[in-house]
């Protein structure tokens, strides 16, 4: 059974059909790319998958469960976490606390326990700190754990967003243009990190990206979106050599 199965997904804003008849199947452990020209509807699909928008048609199955139309927080609890095209960190919190918010649902204690500082508070906080530091180490952010998130350099902010998403222990990770604004060296490093996350965490990853080097370098399969509809899908090399795709990118 596929981890993610999307069938005939569609949404309209007023009269505009932003996404139409979109289907996608991703197997467990796959690294999958979603590409397409600007305004093709890629981020809209992420927003549909994470419940920011409710689809007008179609359904979404995650690991055998129907999550269509559920709220964002429920979908996260079912196992989808994401990053954002325009970085959305908790800018006033420390790097460590950003990850700890990600651990929120997996290491619970009540508000009263927190206020009264019951023994459970110390125990759970310790677990959270350890787990958060582990995650930060993976992304080479452990040295900056005390920094305010907004003081991190751009590339590290992107990494922190991924670490925070992973903290929710998802089954599927959605990355929205993870390499945007990075220089070639940083992109190289990011590719390594993404592969590492997939292998180390046995993660399934769906990513949106414009950087073709990154896409061809790490994605196993691709779907190309144009004007809200699927233009092509399949193995990465095949898709990238498809004349239709080249035409869409270069413009007819």
């Amino acid at each position: 059974m596929a981890l993610l199965e999307v069938k005939n997904l569609g949404i309209s804003f007023g009269g505009l059909r932003a996404v139409d008849d979109f289907s996608l199947t991703i197997e467990q452990g796959e690294l999958y790319g979603l590409i397409g020209p600007n305004g093709a509807g890629k981020t809209t699909i992420f927003n549909l998958l994470t419940g920011v928008y409710k689809p007008t048609d179609g359904y979404i199955m995650l690991d055998g469960e129907n999550i269509t139309g559920k709220k964002t927080i429920e979908i996260n609890r079912h196992g989808i976490a994401r990053t954002f095209q325009n970085i959305r960190l908790f800018s006033e919190l420390t790097v460590l606390d950003n990850v700890k918010v990600g651990l929120h649902n997996h290491h619970p204690y009540s508000t009263l326990t927190g206020i009264l500082r019951l023994p459970k508070y110390y125990k759970v906080e310790k677990e959270m700190n350890e787990r958060a530091m582990e995650l930060l180490k993976v992304f080479d952010l452990d040295q900056e754990a005390d920094y305010k998130a907004s003081n991190l350099p751009y590339g590290k902010q992107r990494k922190l967003e991924i670490a925070r998403a992973l903290a929710t222990d998802p089954k599927l990770l959605l990355l929205d243009e993870p390499a945007a604004g990075m220089n070639p060296n940083e992109t190289q490093e990011l590719m390594k990190t993404i592969r590492f996350v997939r292998d180390e965490f046995h993660m399934t990853i769906l990513l949106i990206e414009h950087d073709m080097k990154l896409v061809s370098g790490i994605c196993e399969r691709l779907t190309v979106l144009n004007f809200g509809q699927i233009l092509a899908e399949g193995e990465t090399t095949e898709v990238l050599n498809d004349p239709k795709v080249i035409a869409a990118y270069l413009g007819e």
Partner: protein
């Protein structure tokens, strides 16, 4: 029935004053994107200037009103220049607190000059009242002048925004001040002009308010100022016809509430209506919907 109509007329009269204040509020909010808490106190200053010039120095009312409008216009521009302009890029909260400081400043300045005693304001209106239905319904001259003034001001403002270069510059700044600047609009002078117009309107509102309700203290402007902001939110902040509709509705609700439900609860009723409107339609009656982009 006559009683109801009489209340309605009073409500429209009070509502017209709210509308004039709300027009100033909504323009400043729409263009400078700030909640000018001191706007209500400019009303009070306007009324005191007329009180001093007309009742004190014995000048004719028209001259007194003109002086008052001039003083408030200058005051508005000076407040903007000294207190708000340095904070153009500061947090909303910082600007709000500064506005509160300005409000305290104006109140205490008036307190220092005029003392805390209530002054009785002589109406500047000389229009005779209209008597209808064999004397059962009297519409006062103040009411007639207030309502007419309000309608003229609203139409004038709408025409100004639509047809004059400065008015269109204001629209541009309210949409996107950065882009407006790039297109050659002088944002600073546009905002100053907005404050000038808003404060001039506040002066007129002050005179009309105190002509209908003739007691004047340093705190006279505070509550009408708040209510006018409520009216602006009610009608959809940033919208000129919205401020007008919101003002009139609020005045009518307040007077009818005072007459038929409870005189002590009339303010509570006004605020309750605001809450209901915002919960049903969070952008007010004529406001625009803005959604956050993910």
């Amino acid at each position: 029935m006559i009683g109801f109509i009489s209340y309605l007329v009073n409500g429209i009269s009070l509502g017209s004053v709210y509308a004039i204040i709300a027009l100033g509020y909504t323009m400043v909010y729409g263009i400078a994107k700030m909640l000018n808490f001191a706007h209500g106190d400019v009303i009070m200053v306007g009324a005191f200037v007329v009180f001093s010039t007309v009742s004190g120095m014995g000048l004719p009312p028209v001259i007194g009103i003109l002086i008052s409008v001039a003083v408030c216009t200058v005051l508005g521009v000076v407040i903007e220049r000294v207190a708000y302009k340095p904070l153009r890029h500061a947090s909303k909260l910082a600007v709000l607190i500064t506005a509160i400081g300005v409000s305290y400043f104006l109140q205490n300045m008036a307190l220092l000059i005029y003392g805390a005693n209530t002054k009785s304001f002589t109406s500047v209106v000389t229009v005779p009242p209209i008597t209808l239905a064999d004397g059962a319904l009297v519409i006062s001259g103040e009411t007639i002048v207030t309502v007419i003034a309000c309608i003229i001001i609203m139409i004038g403002l709408m025409a100004f925004m639509k047809y004059s270069k400065s008015g269109r510059a204001m629209l541009a700044v309210s949409e996107d001040s950065g882009a407006a600047q790039l297109m050659g609009v002088n944002v600073n002078s546009t905002i100053a002009l907005t404050f000038a117009i808003g404060s001039a309107l506040a002066a007129i509102a002050g005179v009309l308010l105190c002509s209908s309700y003739p007691s004047l203290t340093p705190y006279t402007g505070s509550m009408p100022g708040i209510k006018a902001f409520v009216a602006a939110v009610f009608g959809g902040i940033g919208s000129i016809p919205g401020a007008f509709i919101g003002g009139i509705l609020l005045g009518v609700i307040e007077i009818l509430g005072r007459a038929y439900i409870s005189s002590q609860l009339s303010d509570a009723i006004v605020f309750a209506v605001l809450i209901i409107v915002l919960l049903v339609k969070p952008t007010g009656i004529l406001g625009k919907q803005i959604q956050e982009k993910v």
